[in-house]
């Protein structure tokens, strides 16, 4: 067992053991390391002013990830190199003067293109663009830049000059990537436990250790990416004396694909899950592209999104519509629950004390299936859904006509939990695909399936209208309408427009 956390800072391996488990990386940087270049804008992972870059080795390969340091616990930096805005230019950490000698190309381009005004968001933007600079496979277009910046709010510039700076710094004549540091000696088999039995930050190395530790401390808080639990510390001001971080548990991020079923380990980040889930259907790829931000997707995990039980977590309706299962473990006992049964009531799930989410298992839609999902929010990028709808139709032929054999329809934002539209599904089962009469029955049934609430994201009436209209949109598309005529964002590739496109 190891009783310190270790990370690389400015080329040196730093060992830390004297910290409260809920200490955020941002507070450590600003208050202890006195690296005040990184800013706190919101302390909830939405504005990106605190963006830093973590580099680490994953399965031996280097990864470069921008993260929101304001809601990342210090212990989560274990094994990584922490790069902040001060570190990009002069290797000795001396700020470059007005001549700009020694600036990183991203910094240089931000100065030349007038990409900063008040400058407070700038360190975060520089770090997001640095990550893009290090990871983008080729020259970036505006779409890629927008995606890279979705988690960075700027209130001054209107973004145009920042996008221009990104296009220049990440263009065809890109500087070589930054050399890797010497990481601490890997010890993947060792559990990490810092603190006492009353107050600790633990990072077990195996499922067995995790199960045992959690059984001993059922009152501990499991942390995966901390994109939600981080706010328990910064906003709810909860004590969080016992934190178990799942990021070191070997194999908990494993992916299995036997052709029929895709199994995603609980700690697989959204960033890593994105291409896999996009392979099920491009709409899921588009959904995940709009899920949080690069920073949130780099930290947040598939298991965390499900285990958290948020009524508006966007993955759950998709998974329910696809008939996914949740795999849970307590001690040595493993069980599987259909996703829709896992959610019981608002923020309450079928998860027993000391039980943790191990994986999500999702069946690949069949060749006879058509899938659509839509996210509706006030803002396209980095927003929480007012309504999210996922539609999974199994199609067939009957009497020379195309029919809907069965439908699985699930919504987020329409109830205290992600929930299926049972009446609408029933109305569509066996109905001709292009029968407006059958559609109308199903559309009307939505009102019986849900009694949505009004909140700051939308009023109940709007949610009801939109839920109905999303089903109409899904049916219209599956019946053959081109998404050029039905969508203003996230249009499908032409070969996947039709119902039997896959």
């Amino acid at each position: 067992m190891r009783d310190v956390i270790r990370f690389v800072r400015r080329g040196q391996v730093v060992e830390v053991s004297d910290f409260h488990p809920r200490t955020t990386l941002l507070d450590w940087l600003r208050l202890t390391d006195r690296a005040t270049g990184t800013k706190e804008g919101c302390a909830e992972g939405d504005c990106g002013a605190c963006t830093i870059v973590l580099r680490r080795l994953r399965n031996g390969a280097p990864v470069v990830e921008p993260v929101n340091s304001c809601i990342l616990f210090l212990g989560q930096a274990d094994g990584a190199e922490i790069l902040t805005v001060e570190d990009l230019g002069d290797p000795d950490g001396r700020p470059a003067g007005a001549s700009g000698e020694g600036l990183h190309p991203v910094q240089r381009a931000m100065v030349d293109m007038h990409g900063s005004q008040c400058g407070f968001c700038t360190p975060g933007i520089v770090m997001s663009l640095f990550a893009l600079h290090e990871t983008a496979p080729g020259p970036v277009d505006r779409r890629a830049i927008d995606d890279a910046l979705a988690g960075n709010l700027c209130r001054c510039t209107g973004y145009r000059p920042i996008a221009d700076a990104a296009a220049r710094a990440c263009g065809p004549e890109r500087a070589p990537p930054r050399p890797l540091p010497t990481f601490p000696e890997a010890d993947p088999e060792r559990d990490v436990f810092v603190g006492s039995d009353e107050t600790f930050f633990a990072a077990p190395a195996s499922e067995a250790s995790l199960a045992a530790l959690y059984a001993r401390h059922p009152d501990a808080v499991l942390v995966s990416g901390a994109t939600d639990v981080g706010l328990w510390a910064t906003k709810a001001l909860r004590d969080l004396p016992k934190i178990i971080w799942l990021g070191r548990v070997a194999g908990l991020d494993a992916v299995e694909d036997d052709g029929a079923t895709l199994t995603l380990g609980a700690t697989l980040t959204h960033a890593r899950a994105l291409p896999l889930l996009a392979g099920l259907d491009p709409d899921i790829g588009e959904l995940l592209r709009r899920f949080g931000s690069v920073q949130v997707r780099a930290s947040g995990t598939v298991g965390g999104n499900i285990a958290n039980g948020s009524p508006i977590g966007d993955l759950a309706p998709v998974m329910i519509a696809l008939g996914a299962e949740v795999e849970l473990r307590r001690g040595d006992e493993v069980r599987r629950v259909p996703m829709e049964d896992f959610f019981i009531a608002y923020r309450k799930q079928d998860r027993r004390p000391s039980e943790f989410v191990r994986a999500v298992r999702v069946r690949r839609p069949g060749r006879d299936a058509a899938f659509r999902c839509f996210k509706v929010s006030k803002r396209f990028d980095e927003d929480i859904s007012a309504v999210m709808g996922a539609f999974h139709f199994v199609l067939g032929e009957a009497g020379g006509e195309r029919v809907i054999r069965s439908a699985r329809i699930a919504y987020g934002g329409m109830a205290g939990i992600p929930k299926r539209a049972a009446l609408a599904e029933a109305a569509l089962a066996g109905a001709p695909l292009s029968s407006r009469k059958a559609w109308d029955l199903a559309l009307d049934a939505i009102a019986g399936d849900f009694s949505p609430m009004s909140d700051q994201r939308a009023n109940a009436a709007y949610r009801g209208h939109v839920a109905r209209n999303l089903l109409l949109k899904a049916l219209t598309e599956v019946a053959g309408a081109s998404t050029d005529r039905t969508r203003i964002v996230g249009r499908r590739p032409p070969e996947l427009e039709a119902a039997h496109g896959r």
Binding site: S99, H114, G119, N152
Partner: protein
């Protein structure tokens, strides 16, 4: 760096697929004896620091040993009498050093800018949810925040007023009603061939400066105190701190190097946090720092005013307006704050760019139990303009004319050039040239045909197009604020230190004023050291607001620099036996005929000759008068103009929408710095677009603000800005004697975003042509779907 930046700084729009073009269109050509440093695209003075995290904001200052951290105890109810406040659990919490209440205030418990209607800490009553009730001083910020939640507070709560209608019902207001106008509107409305009545609700807006409110107070000798504050108005901080502590103004110094954004939100409302820090510092004898958490900042600081606008408009079959009768009902929050000036400016811009032969412009300043609304870029102007743009659209729907034709028909023109408050519009040619120029350059007419053809195809998706003007009055309408001071020192090595009363919030003011001083002395910009704004260098300053920062401070600095330059020229002239007028300052040299020396050598020579190398400069805007009581005079030195054309794509099934292209043509006179001005135009436009689309403030019936963080309050992100975003400066030169004939640029571009709102309405109008579109602001997806449903669409 300057030479190197010339090339790069003057091209733009890389990555947008369009050829680069100069950004300094409209700048004065250089060469010969022309200006060197002004009219030039220098980067922001701190750009190289911003990108390295080396620019220090308030929370980055190294804290003095023993600094205590503060947190605010907040009211759990929106309206009522304070029945009990048990703070024993707060005092007992770990790390707490002191709990401060209203009773600890040595002076007056009053932080209001003028009226005495706002407390630093609530004493007997609370008037909005979250109001500051007590203050915790603790050894860490975390300890202070945790302790601040432990207060046991009982309020005898009453039903709060949250909406316009609540306040109307109670008939409560923060200031008296006010109106002005021209002609007999009632008769003109009766006589008009056609009349329409309309109502528009306009939401407020949170500033969302990325750096939240913060202050650090350091106690000194004999009751003196130094306050570092993230404020647009150091002098008001000084006054309020002195008032709270009951000390003379001379004992209080307020300093600010830079703010991480402000937008009006730190004009009057930075004072409370500075005053709380000062009070705690006085009570504890230790340095005290207060930095608001983002959620608390949302709850505790005011916003752009939300309005209901009721209007009646008389017009003819061609869409020409003959009478406008408008009532602006503003939700001011619980106190007056700056609502007099804000709502006055709404009224001053009720006409926007249109001649109104008869007009009645009336306003009510309603009291609501919400945080006190305050200055926000545009200062009431945007709401006044949006209402008449909506009315112009209504006229277009009802007459079947293109909205642009209706706008052009009503535009101020020679002979039709007097505003409802009696001031002449002197640049109607500029206004028309901008509108017609943009009509051409945006391809409005061809695109109108394409949009109409697309919409004629039916379907859920609709396109919309709108081209709208902006005419914005420049000057504080509180006339005495139109003054500024500067302090310039020349050192014997020829380097220069510059100080003035303006504050830097990202708008590039420090850079622009430094350009003016470098120009005056003929030295490189790197020789001019910009120093933090502080009340002990330049006293009795006005807030950096009303877009007037460079107009006022640039002039004051020019006066100071030219005073020193004249003294130096005198020495050179005597040395060389030439006339003072023959002495030139350029490229770091001072020369006359064949004689020359470096600026530094002359500075040394002046010192040897016992010449004072320091001077103050003072400027007051000429030619403005405004008498509010009689509603007569000339409130504005001049108007700034602009126009924008926006195109949108709307999904009428969900209300989702995208801005697909924006063209802007904007008048900044002869730009002091085209790169900075374009940044203001683009940034202002996008901020205005957010106000009118995704940014929605939602209050619960009990007065709690439900959208109190970026998770729920959505300002634009990069992908909301169209890749096709074309901004041009209108070639112009100010007709008044402004600083190098430039025009103010801070606020006017916000209102260019009215084009987005009108374009969304235009898309919806295609659902039922001929009917006004019942769309309120902000045009959230929900508001858009509701309007679509009302027009028979949305399904």
């Amino acid at each position: 760096m300057a030479a190197d930046l010339q090339g790069d700084g003057l091209t733009r729009a890389e990555g947008s697929g369009r050829p680069p073009h100069p950004v300094d269109r409209g700048a004065v050509p250089r060469g010969g004896d022309g200006p060197v440093h002004v009219h030039r695209a220098y980067p922001h003075d701190s750009a190289h620091l911003h990108v390295q995290g080396a620019a220090s904001y308030l929370d980055d200052l190294l804290e003095p040993e023993g600094t205590l951290h503060l947190a605010v105890g907040m009211s759990p109810a929106a309206r009522g009498r304070i029945a009990a406040m048990d703070l024993a659990p707060v005092r007992a919490a770990p790390g707490v050093v002191r709990v401060v209440t209203a009773g600890d205030i040595p002076g007056r418990n009053d932080i209001s800018p003028a009226l005495g209607d706002e407390t630093l800490l609530a004493d007997t009553h609370v008037a909005f949810h979250g109001q500051a009730m007590f203050l915790v001083a603790a050894t860490t910020r975390d300890a202070a925040r945790r302790a601040a939640r432990l207060g046991r507070i009982e309020i005898e709560a009453q039903e709060p007023s949250v909406t316009v209608e609540d306040a109307e019902r109670r008939d409560e207001r923060v200031l008296p009603d006010y109106a002005f106008g021209r002609g007999d509107v009632a008769t003109a409305l009766k006589a008009a061939p056609r009349m329409l009545e309309g109502r528009l609700r306009i939401g407020g807006q949170e500033h969302f400066y990325l750096e939240g409110q913060a202050a650090l107070a350091i106690p000194g000798e004999d009751g003196a105190i130094l306050v570092h504050s993230s404020t647009q108005h150091p002098t008001e901080v000084q006054h309020v701190v002195a008032r709270i502590l009951n000390v003379p103004d001379a004992l209080v110094t307020c300093e600010v190097r830079r703010m991480g954004g402000a937008f009006g939100g730190k004009e009057s409302q930075a004072t409370q946090w500075a005053a709380l820090a000062a009070l705690a510092a006085r009570v504890t004898g230790r340095p005290c720092k207060l930095r608001l958490d983002r959620d608390d900042d949302f709850a505790l600081t005011g916003k752009r005013h939300d309005f209901r606008v009721d209007y009646r408009l008389g017009f003819d079959a061609d869409g020409r307006v003959s009478a406008y009768d408008v009532d602006f009902l503003a939700c001011c929050g619980h106190s007056a704050d700056l609502s007099q000036g804000v709502v006055d400016r709404t009224m001053f811009h009720a006409d926007n760019a249109y001649f109104l032969p008869a007009a009645r412009v009336a306003s009510r300043r309603l009291k609501t139990n919400t945080v006190s609304n305050t200055a926000f870029r545009g200062f009431g102007g945007p709401q006044g303009m949006l209402a008449i743009e909506k009315a112009m659209d209504d006229v277009a729907r009802l007459t079947g004319r293109d909205p642009l034709d209706v706008r052009l028909a009503n535009l101020y023109a020679p002979g039709r050039d007097e505003t409802p408050f009696g001031m002449k519009v002197e640049e109607t040619d500029t206004l028309r040239a901008i509108m017609e120029g943009l009509e051409r350059s945006s391809g409005y007419r061809e695109r109108r045909a394409q949009v109409d053809a697309f919409n004629a195809g039916g379907g859920w998706l609709r396109r919309g197009l709108a081209l709208t003007p902006v005419k914005f009055g420049i000057s504080f309408t509180l006339t005495h604020l139109n003054q500024a001071g500067a302090l310039v020192h020349v050192y014997t090595d020829g380097s220069v230190q510059l100080n003035h009363g303006g504050t830097e919030m990202g708008q590039g003011l420090y850079r622009k004023v430094a350009q003016v001083v470098a120009e005056e002395f003929g030295i490189g910009l790197e020789r001019v050291r910009i120093t933090a704004t502080t009340t002990d260098k330049v006293p009795n300053t006005s807030p950096t607001a009303a877009s007037a920062g460079s107009d006022l401070n640039g002039m004051a600095a020019k006066v100071a620099a030219s005073t020193i330059r004249a003294r130096m020229a005198g020495i050179a002239a005597a040395l060389w036996g030439v006339d003072e007028e023959a002495v030139r300052f350029r490229d770091g040299m001072v020369a006359a005929g064949a004689e020359s020396m470096t600026f530094a050598d002359l500075a040394r020579a002046c010192h040897q000759q016992r010449v004072h190398l320091s001077a103050t400069g003072f400027y007051r805007t000429p030619n403005i008068t405004w008498d509010r009581a009689s509603a007569t005079g000339r409130p504005f030195f001049y108007f700034a103009y602009g126009a924008a054309c926006a195109e949108v794509l709307v999904d009428t099934l969900t209300g989702e929408n995208r801005v697909t292209r924006v063209d802007i043509l904007h008048d900044v006179g002869a730009s002091l710095n085209p790169a900075i001005d374009i940044g203001q135009i683009e940034g202002g436009f996008v901020q205005g677009m957010g106000w009118l689309t995704t940014e929605e403030l939602v209050y619960a019936p009990d007065g709690r603000l439900l959208t109190h963080a970026p998770a729920t309050y959505k300002i634009p992100v990069s992908s909301d800005v169209p890749a096709d975003f074309r901004v041009e400066l209108f070639p112009n030169s100010a007709r008044q004697d402004t600083i190098y004939r430039s025009k103010a640029v801070g606020e006017p571009p916000v209102m260019l975003a009215n084009s987005v709102f009108c374009a969304i309405a235009d898309a919806l109008a295609s659902l039922d042509p001929g009917r006004p579109v019942p769309l309120d602001a902000p045009a959230t997806p929900e508001a858009i779907l509701n309007a679509a449903l009302a027009l028979g669409g949305g399904r």
